[in-house]
Assembly symmetry: C2
Homo-oligomer: 197 residues x 2
Amino acid sequence: MQHLRIVDYLSSKLHIESDSISTLFDTCILKEIKKNDFLLSENDYCKHTFFVEKGLLRQYSIDDNGKEHTISFAPENWFVTDRESVYFDSPSRYYIQALEDSEVVLIDENFIQLLSEKIPSFTTFNDRLLHNHIRHLQNRINLLLSASAERRYLEFIEMYPDILLRVPLTMVASYLGITPESLSRVRKDLARKNFKK
Amino acid sequence: MQHLRIVDYLSSKLHIESDSISTLFDTCILKEIKKNDFLLSENDYCKHTFFVEKGLLRQYSIDDNGKEHTISFAPENWFVTDRESVYFDSPSRYYIQALEDSEVVLIDENFIQLLSEKIPSFTTFNDRLLHNHIRHLQNRINLLLSASAERRYLEFIEMYPDILLRVPLTMVASYLGITPESLSRVRKDLARKNFKK
C-alpha cells in the first residue's frame, strides 16, 4: 500500500517511529471518492470513521424545508464520522459528502481495537480525541448561543485556516448559523478594519 | 456516609449489586451548596465532575454584554462539569451555579481511576457516557442551526421532562437560543394546538 498520511499523523501525535506502525495499516481500506459523491446519507448506518488523506469532506444535515446546515468540514488530516450512528447503531441524521476529489482511510471498531492492542499509548490518545471533540462541540454551542457573527467567523478562520478558498461562502454561513448576507457584511467590515490598520 | 443516589445510579447502569460498590464511595466528598452559590466560575480551573444527589444546577456563560447563555441544566442523577477545563487544564469559560439548595458528589480523576480498577465494566460505561455527551452536543448544534423554536422547545421538554416548573423561562429561552418572547409564543401556540385536539 502507498505511504499514508494517517501513519505520519499518528506517529507524530503518539511520538513513535512511523515505521513501527505502518504495517498495521496494510489491511486498511483506502477509498477514493469523487467530488459531490457521498460517504454517508441520512438514514444510513455509519460504520466507519473517515480520515482524510487528500481532499475535503463536509458533514451536514437537511431540514424539513430542504435547507442544508453544515455540521463540520474535514480537510486533510482530519477525522470525520457520525459518532452517534457508529456508537449507538442508529440511523444517521447527516450526510458526509466530498467537496473535492478525495481519498479517505476507513477506520472501524475492529481497527481501533487493533491499534489499542498494538500501540500502548493509542488508548490515551483516542480518549484525548474524544475529549477534544467534546471541547469543540461545547465551544461551538456557546458561540452559537452567545457570539456575534464576526466572532463566529474569526473563530472559524482560526479552526479552519486553509479551507476558506476551497468552500462556497454559503456553506461557511450555514456552518456559522448566519445568512450569507451577514457573512458578506462581516467580511467587508473586517477588510475595512484591516485596511485602516 | 449516608446512602448515595450515585451508588444506585451506577449499580443500575452497570447491572451490579449496590452493596458491592458502596464502600468505594466512602472517601467521596458530598458537598452541600446553597441556592445561588457557585461550584465553578469563569476562569476557575474545574477539578471535578459533579453528580447531583439533590437539587438542580445550571452551567452557563456570560457574554461581553453581560448576557447569560445556558449551556446545560443538571437535576438529580445528572453529571455536570467543564470537561475542557478538567481534561485540558484550562481556565473555564463557564459558571456552574445551584438553582436550588443542592447536594453534589465531587468526582475527580483519581476516583474515576479507582472505579476503573475496581469495577471491570466501568471503563466501557464511562466511554459510553463520553459518546452520549458527544451525541447530545452534536444534536444540539444541529437543532441550533436548523430547527424552529417550537422543535427546539419540544426536544428540550423531552430531554428535561421534569424541570420546566423549577427554572425561570428566561433561562430556558437562553438554553434554546431564542428570546423569552419567542418562547412565550411557542408555549401559547402549543397550548392552543393541544386544546383543539
